[in-house]
Symmetry: C2
Subunit: 260 residues, 2 copies
DNA sequence: CTAAATTTGTGCGTATGTATA
DNA sequence: GTATACATACGCACAAATTTA
């Protein structure tokens, strides 16, 4: 045998080969046996070392890719990724743009416009903006890169009237900075966090295989009069982002204690 | 052929069979051809209908499972899931417990304690709570179910002194209600959202296969004196939860105590 | 420049295990 | 016990990308 114990074979087993291999590889990455930037043994080497078939190794590798721990390149190998996450703080400070935070994580940020234009709002978008279904709505799509790796896709929906003011600059600036620059106040920002998997369009733009999980933030900016005027979606690589919010709790839980 | 066009075969193709099948099945679910609760055609039927091999169908099905659109049961079939999501609002109102929100989504909530006890804090936990590494810390784990399906796993870390007050009730109640009941005020709640994949322990508790993506919320409760006193983690099925927060934007320097 | 070798990634046919009816 | 169905696993083939001779 030698360095690598073969995985247990199939009789009356309660764990699965791909799962055992997955945790084995995970722990080797975690403990530094496969340090960041290094190449994993080739598929052929792994099948031999662990005594399993190629399809089993492939599955474990794919899960590691979904997890963001490794990245494969055809003809080259599978490499352990360095893992600094972009820490996105949604804190009511429009100065903290996503570009700053990409830089703070040690990457070089880049912004690229995907497309923009007026479309007809579907029912959901219209409802959220308080418009009738089918109303004309301006949509803008752009992408952010970190060290030239696409990490997030940004979609904005707003009324054409607002778009007239902003559209020229949307390709090169981040939305909250723009709103601030034009003195358009936001009274409230409602955010929704969920995860999903890429659609076909997103998989091309983010360079991910079909079925790759993503982290998604939907936000609604509400004006001082209480009406929503801007919808945003951020679809991002889950291995690249953490979102942070602060919620001051001056709600009703206070036992009216005398302060200080 | 007949009703179902065979997928294009391999010559000079730029899309992949599993991906085409994935989008085909997704759209059939979306447009109601496969309504919620119904059974998908068996694996054998799908291989025949689409003219692809079993492994290709399996892969597409697994992605659909990760997506939360379907759920397989051995010996029975693959079923389209009904998709009401639990809408978790973190809004500074401790009365909105997760149990209420599960009920609001149309499910019957259930709570089950997994385990609890005093352990030694690892470096990360200790740092976040302002303790020295290795300090004794109380950990509590429980699970929530929606219609007896496990949907989330909850981990709490707190100092043993605080645990003495709460530990008896932690198994049957939700943490924010408990804090309110015992008049323990929270001044600030810091939340982090990210997605990841299940660990081995989590996969068993949540009944998910290894590698299944999850949505994770880490929160830190901060007392009136400004020091963190409670860490919480919620690991949940991504197809079952949306988290919502409201961020009032009071200009650039937000007054700490607005009124009074 | 071309050809061979290596490596990832998709795909096929088949076998086996396990849960349900 | 028999049939059906999901799920893992094997050996093999081929396409695409990269490196090397």
């Amino acid at each position: 045998m030698s360095r690598t114990a073969k995985l247990k074979s199939t009789k009356t087993r309660r764990s699965f080969l791909y799962s055992d291999l997955l945790t084995a590889l995970r722990s080797r990455i975690a403990n530094g046996s496969y340090p960041p930037g290094s190449r994993l043994p080739s598929l052929a080497a792994l099948t031999k070392a662990f005594g399993v078939s190629a399809i089993t190794v492939r599955r474990a590798l794919r899960e590691l890719v979904y997890e963001g721990l490794v990245q494969g390149h055809q003809g080259l190998g599978v490499f352990v990724k360095t893992k600094p996450r972009i820490h996105r703080v949604l804190a009511g400070d429009p100065d903290r743009s996503i570009g700053d935070e990409i830089r703070r994580a040690g990457f070089v940020p880049r912004l690229a416009e995907v497309n923009q234009g007026v479309i007809k709002a579907d029912d959901k978008i219209a409802a959220r903006l308080g418009l009738r279904p089918g109303a004309s709505i301006f949509r803008h799509q752009k992408q952010t890169f970190a060290n030239d790796e696409p990490v997030a896709l940004h979609r904005l929906h707003m009324r054409p009237s607002l778009a007239r003011t902003l559209k020229k600059e949307l390709g090169n600036a981040f939305i909250f900075s723009l709103l601030k620059k034009h003195n358009i106040p936001i009274a409230d920002l409602r955010c929704e966090f969920c995860s999903a998997t890429v659609t076909e369009e997103e998989s091309k733009l983010l360079q991910l295989t079909a079925g790759h999980p993503i982290l998604r933030v939907d936000y609604t900016a509400i004006g001082p009069e209480g009406s929503p005027f801007l919808l945003g979606e951020t679809i991002c690589r889950p291995d690249r982002f953490v979102f942070e919010v602060n919620l001051p709790q001056r709600g009703k839980s206070r036992p009216r204690r005398p302060e200080r």
